[in-house]
């Protein structure tokens, strides 16, 4: 009698990276443009020390508020620091805060959402009611309140923006989990005696991933706008650390004499947010062709 070997399931490429999805993705012009924008800024952030002509915090007396020149392609700020160098180094701070915050909310939110959807009953009620309360507050105000308690600073912005995005991920993860847990393969796994944790990790998580990937990209756009907004209010990274929102904030005071001080960091934020939005829209179309119009 042939025995059915309890072999490991064949290794398959995750759906998110499968050929069909990649083909769809390549066909979407907005997705490709989004990816290029995002990749460009990540590259800039990675290579900032090589690209920046000067130390972003070094200032020269007598060189304040200079217009763009060969030595300082974007001019100098109110302390005589090279704006281009600050912009390049600032990409690191701004992008790290944004990525950090979204990773926090993705991990916490997805875990809560999957557990809520999978366990159901009071676990679900408890988790989702807490999410309802978080969503009942205007998000930016919640972030401000958290900073008020923790104090201004780079790490605290990550925490505040991270908490702010948790409910969005929890809702997406819960919604998908509810439909996945009724699928035959989940019932089969359970019949074979798999534990809840194994089922959630091996069967639910891979299938919840596509909507979470889309949500992550769109949330990165929201996160950079929120985080730079907080530092614009002086609640983020403290001087002399270069950060785009904070650069814009000091640039305001010189808007008539040196408009590039405020204009350029804002343009950088706009382009990154646009990249994440385009990428998210493109991913959504590629991962869920039914929604494509």
């Amino acid at each position: 009698m042939a025995t059915v070997a309890a072999s490991a399931p064949p290794r398959v490429v995750p759906y998110v990276l499968s050929g069909a999805v990649l083909r769809q993705f390549r066909q979407s012009r907005s997705a490709v443009i989004g990816l290029i924008l995002v990749a460009f800024f990540i590259l800039v952030a990675a290579l900032a020390p090589l690209l920046a002509p000067y130390d972003p915090t070094a200032f020269t007396l007598g060189q304040q508020l200079r217009p763009p020149s060969a030595a300082n392609p974007l001019g100098t700020d109110e302390l005589g620091r090279d704006i281009l160098s600050r912009l390049l180094w600032g990409s690191r701070v701004t992008l790290l805060i944004t990525l950090g915050a979204v990773v926090v909310s993705l991990v916490v939110g997805a875990t809560l959402g999957i557990v809520a959807g999978f366990r159901g009953k009071w676990t679900d009620t408890l988790i989702m009611r807490v999410m309802d309360v978080l969503l009942a507050m205007p998000g930016f105000l919640l972030a401000i309140a958290i900073i008020a308690a923790l104090g201004a600073g780079t790490f605290n912005v990550v925490v505040a923006v991270g908490i702010f995005s948790i409910p969005a991920f929890a809702r997406v993860a819960r919604g998908s989990t509810l439909s996945i847990k009724e699928q035959d393969y989940v019932l089969a796994a359970r019949a074979l005696g798999a534990s809840d944790i194994t089922i959630m990790r091996r069967h639910v998580l891979p299938n919840v991933a596509p909507p979470l990937v889309v949500q992550t990209s769109l949330r990165l756009a929201t996160a950079i706008l929120t985080a730079s907004g907080l530092s614009f209010l002086g609640l983020g990274p403290q001087p002399p650390q270069p950060e785009w929102g904070a650069m814009l904030s000091t640039g305001r005071n010189f808007i008539t004499s040196s408009p590039q001080l405020a204009t350029i960091p804002g343009l950088a934020i706009l382009l990154v947010a646009m990249g994440f939005n385009l990428l998210g829209d493109g991913l959504r179309d590629a991962l869920d062709p039914r929604l494509k119009r």
Partner: protein, 306 residues
């Protein structure tokens, strides 16, 4: 249906309590001693102790929360640690500049967003659709504070058409409202576009066209009415965004509203004012969402909650 309305109204109570617990909890984590802030730099240890006792800060936290809720229900939000005036007085004059700004921004978002969404959907894949889609993309990607500054640079500094700061006149409202409303305009436009496209594919729209109704009637009476239902929810959620964004817009345009008060009070560690301002804005948002949900029942006869 009435059972749904009652249930929805009752649900508001635990949400507001939850929000108050959250805000109270966060404010308890603020470092430093409120009593010390009130006593000032030259307050003696004895003064601080007296103030602490008078504020009930020597009691257990849950008791403080109960007192906070009870006082709030009576309209007593305490006194500002900095000016010593009642918080209601501090906040009172700040409400209108923010309310006016949020209402103006929402109105712009609704009018421009609906118009752009309808044009996009009815002229799908034309130049108009592409332009509207691109502007929407800009709208959702643009930082409020940057757009505000660019508007100041163009309309106040360069052209000298509109004032760049203050509140009270219509001219002072235009730029901040446009800056604040742009992201919501884009989101409402996107929602309206996809809602309309969805509805335009339905059989009843084909039927309406087949029986020879004017295209205008088909669009307004049959398509738009149904496409608007999800847009109403999105617009309600935008109110929350506008309240947060108002903090940024008021900072850029030096508007003496609640948002500006909030940021200044955080810097001064004036907890009572911070707490009350956040509660006021959050409860307003909760009530707006309540109204939106009730409106939903009215707009969509298919929804039956009982």
């Amino acid at each position: 249906m009435s059972r749904f309305i009652v249930a929805r109204l009752l649900w508001t109570i635990p949400v507001v309590l939850g929000v108050s617990l959250l805000v109270f909890g966060i404010m308890k984590m603020v470092p430093g001693d409120v009593a010390q802030v009130i006593a000032g730099v030259d307050g003696t240890a004895e003064d601080v102790e007296i103030i602490r006792r008078s504020l009930g800060l020597d009691r257990p936290v849950w008791e403080q929360y109960a007192v906070f809720v009870g006082n709030s229900l009576r309209g007593d939000f305490g006194r500002s640690a900095v000016t010593k005036r009642p918080v209601t007085e501090e906040i009172g004059s700040r409400v209108w500049p923010t309310a006016e700004l949020a209402i103006a921004a929402l109105s712009i978002a609704l009018v421009a967003g609906l118009a752009a969404g309808i044009v996009s959907a009815t002229r799908q894949y034309t130049v108009w659709d592409n332009v509207a889609t691109f502007i929407s993309l800009l709208g959702v990607s643009m930082p409020v504070f940057w757009l505000g500054l660019m508007l100041v640079l163009l309309f106040s500094v360069t052209l000298g058409w509109l004032p760049s700061s203050g509140a009270g006149t219509l001219a002072q409202l235009v730029l901040p409202a446009v800056a604040l409303g742009s992201a919501s305009t884009a989101i409402i436009a996107r929602q309206t576009r996809s809602g309309m496209l969805e509805v335009l594919r339905q059989d009843y729209v084909r039927t309406a066209r087949a029986k020879g109704l004017a295209e205008r009637t088909v669009l307004v009476a049959h398509a738009l009415k149904n496409a608007l239902i999800p847009t109403v929810t999105v617009a309600g959620l935008q109110v929350g965004y506008l309240m947060g964004g108002a903090v940024l817009a008021e900072t850029v345009f030096a508007r003496p509203g609640l948002g500006r008060l909030l940021v200044d009070s955080i810097a001064r560690r004036d907890i009572a004012v911070v707490q009350t301002t956040i509660m006021l804005l959050s409860v307003t948002f909760v009530l707006v969402n309540l109204v939106v949900d009730l409106l939903y029942v009215k707009l969509d006869p298919r929804i039956r909650y009982d």
